[in-house]
């Protein structure tokens, strides 16, 4: 593999909004005003509505805002927001960073984040929704693109998982960016296979149910230990340059680093390895990257430990089978109680079939409480898994029924937002 290096290190043109065409400046001003109005009206951060307006006024705004920034894009089904945060923290060792830290990851939200950056920003660390990666990569001319993982997620409204891998492969073909890709996920390896310069990271893959057939020829995948290869063609796991090995990270020089993160779980250790690999492309030493990542505790409310009704609740977001499986592996052991909440609103996907892909028997031996708009789907699922559980309508009821000690709360997207709101309102009351 050729040494991955970033062109133009230190020589990037000074970024200044003075250089933008008048129409773009107007678009940015309009978007800031709209966002401020939206915030005042209590409708979230306003970044998406502001960004939408700006893109309508100046469709090439994203490209213009990227000029003078060294851009890193981060995409995948799970871990995007956390990895973006870790990369942003690590890259601050090299210079000022602008990032869409709150997870507004479609073109409007990204545009809004970049428009809000000061002139001093040197790096843009951008989370991108999977469906928009090819387009954002075209517009923002990134130096590096991180591909984390691909698995089934909201199939009633999203593209098929394999189709997504194929679109990435076509969209990234011929780009100059260094692709930092997970060598343990066959769909990611396929997506990265059209790129000229790939830095492989052994970031692991706990959920394997979407990659049993070879994306190249359709053959059945063989998976002995950590390795994988197609039984019918030459498609196989590439040799990684960076690796997660248990609790430690191995860098390209073979040096082994303990990962002392405050963020819990295997998946976050994998995210940290990817983040260290990206930061190193920009000259950030491993020590500095790890030191900075160590201070990240919660990301957009995820992993936050909050007080509620005199109890400690740890809030965990899990949106799809791969996410639930990773989450089960990081929670405190029994008898710590677990509250589960599942909704099926637009942002969650309206089909709850995926809960049958999750192995809930891993939750045996502890009190389980079920909430959410689709609590009855979850109740049937847990009953068929042979588990004991109680169903409640409100968080307060579930917490009141929980035995003493910390409680793990696992919820999918809108259920998570609703629980945060409930807890915040209780704290203010």
């Amino acid at each position: 593999m050729s040494g991955n290096s970033v062109p133009g290190q230190g020589g990037a043109p000074q970024r200044t909004s003075e250089a933008l065409p008048p129409r773009s400046k107007l678009a940015i001003t309009a978007s800031r005003v709209t966002a401020a109005i939206s915030r005042r009206a209590g409708k979230g951060s306003g970044s998406v509505i502001g960004g939408k307006l700006a893109l309508r006024l100046a469709p090439d705004l994203l490209a213009q805002l990227s000029v003078g920034l060294q851009v890193v894009l981060i995409s995948g089904t799970n871990g995007k927001t956390t990895t973006t945060r870790l990369v942003a923290e690590a890259m601050r060792a090299a210079g000022p960073v602008v990032s869409n830290a709150l997870g507004a990851n479609m073109p409007a939200g990204i545009t809004s984040a970049l428009a809000g950056a000061g002139n001093e920003a040197r790096y843009g660390v951008i989370e991108v929704d999977e469906k928009y990666l090819a387009g954002v990569a075209r517009d923002s001319d990134p130096v590096a693109i991180a591909l984390l993982n691909l698995s089934r997620d909201q199939l009633d409204r999203a593209a098929e998982t394999r189709m997504l891998a194929e679109k990435w492969r076509e969209g990234l073909s011929g780009r100059d960016a260094i692709v930092v890709a997970n060598a343990d996920d066959p769909l990611i390896v396929w997506a990265a296979s059209s790129s000229k310069d790939v830095l492989w990271v052994a970031a692991g893959q706990t959920w394997q149910e979407d990659s049993w057939s070879c994306p190249q020829c359709g053959g059945v995948m063989q998976r002995p230990g950590d390795d994988w290869f197609c039984s019918q063609c030459d498609f196989r796991r590439p040799s990684p340059t960076w690796s997660l090995a248990g609790d430690r990270m191995v860098d390209p020089d073979g040096r082994v680093w303990p990962l002392h993160l405050q963020l819990p779980g295997r998946a976050n250790r994998a995210n940290a390895v990817t983040a260290a690999a990206i930061a190193s492309l920009f000259g950030v030493p491993v020590e500095a990257a790890l030191e900075r990542m160590k201070h990240v505790t919660a990301v957009a409310g995820r992993y936050d430990v909050v007080d509620y009704m005199g109890r400690k609740l740890r809030l965990l977001l899990a949106k799809n089978p791969a996410g639930w499986v990773e989450t089960f592996s990081l929670i405190d052991p029994p008898p710590t109680p677990v509250i589960l909440s599942v909704n099926a609103l637009d942002a969650d996907g309206k089909d709850t079939s995926w809960i049958w892909d999750v192995d809930f028997t891993q939750l045996a031996g502890r009190p389980l409480f079920v909430l959410g708009q689709r609590r009855l789907d979850l109740a049937v699922r847990l009953e068929v898994a042979g588990l004991q559980f109680q169903v409640f309508e409100t968080l307060a009821q579930a917490v009141a029924a929980s035995p003493p000690g910390q409680i793990e709360v696992i919820a999918n997207y809108t259920a998570f937002q609703q629980l945060r709101k409930t807890i915040k309102e209780a704290a203010q009351a």
Binding site: R152, S213, G218, D351, S353, W354, W356, V384, G386
Partner: protein
């Protein structure tokens, strides 16, 4: 068969056709048998393994377009399922699996593929952008004695039921076979095809019991089914309310 009292439940190709929680149907059949004291041997058949001929109940799930084509290619070369069905085994096929067990379907390359010919249906593809996605309610053919079915569909198929099969149900909500005539699924003998997942048995445990009755040949003792019934009534109520708005 290992013992005469043991029910063999065969789940075909979870590596290719298990995209919509299809494992759920296997888990539900298994559990409902065990609760009646029927021992179950579950066999998950990966797509590079032969389909056993001695199963009592076979399940095939849904999948993405390319895995569907791969599954059909491999099943066409494997006589196991046809042998078992010919000998009276029960079969439930969902979505992509439903298309595969028919006479013909259109694959991801827009080409016509031969199905397994186990159910007299033919599947084409609806217009691009006209995917059938959402909740389904359907009244089952009275001959089967099942209550209204509730499920979730997500497909682009248009499936015509031939003279050798009957529609499984008629939709009161949703699209079903996508032909515009209100039919959903098809059945003939002990072979059932449907577009409904959810998975279908989580909301319709009576369907699992129908397969178990066919396989065991004896009436089943009723089960409590508190949560299944709660879920069913919530789904029926919610979907009907949304439809009347």
């Amino acid at each position: 068969m290992i013992g005469e009292s043991r029910l063999r439940l065969v789940w075909i190709y979870p590596d290719l056709l298990s995209t919509y929680g299809d494992q759920g149907n296997a888990l539900i059949v298994e559990r409902r048998a065990l609760m009646r004291g029927i021992e179950v041997e579950r066999v998950d058949v990966r797509s590079d393994q032969p389909v056993p001929t001695s199963g009592d109940i076979y399940l095939i799930g849904g999948g993405e377009d390319r895995p569907q084509r791969l599954a059909a290619e491999r099943l066409r070369r494997d006589p196991g399922l046809a042998t078992a069905v010919g000998a009276g085994a029960a079969l439930l096929a969902v979505c992509a699996g439903y298309q595969i067990i028919g006479n013909e379907f259109i694959d991801d390359l827009d080409q016509s593929e031969a199905g397994l010919g186990l159910l007299d249906v033919r599947s084409g593809r609806g217009a691009p952008g006209k995917r059938c996605v959402g909740e389904v309610l359907a009244e089952v053919d009275p001959a089967l004695g099942l209550p209204v079915l509730s499920g979730f569909e997500n497909h682009q198929g248009v499936t015509h039921v031939g003279p050798g099969a009957k529609p499984l149900a008629r939709v009161t909500h949703g699209n079903g076979n996508g032909t515009g005539d209100g039919t959903e699924g098809a059945y003939a003998g002990r072979v059932i095809g449907t577009y409904m997942h959810g998975p279908v048995m989580s909301r319709n445990p009576a369907l699992a019991d129908l397969l178990l009755t066919w396989a065991t040949g004896v009436p089943l003792t009723p089960l409590g089914d508190h949560w299944h019934e709660q879920l069913r009534s919530e789904r029926l109520r919610t979907v009907r309310a949304a439809a009347s708005n």
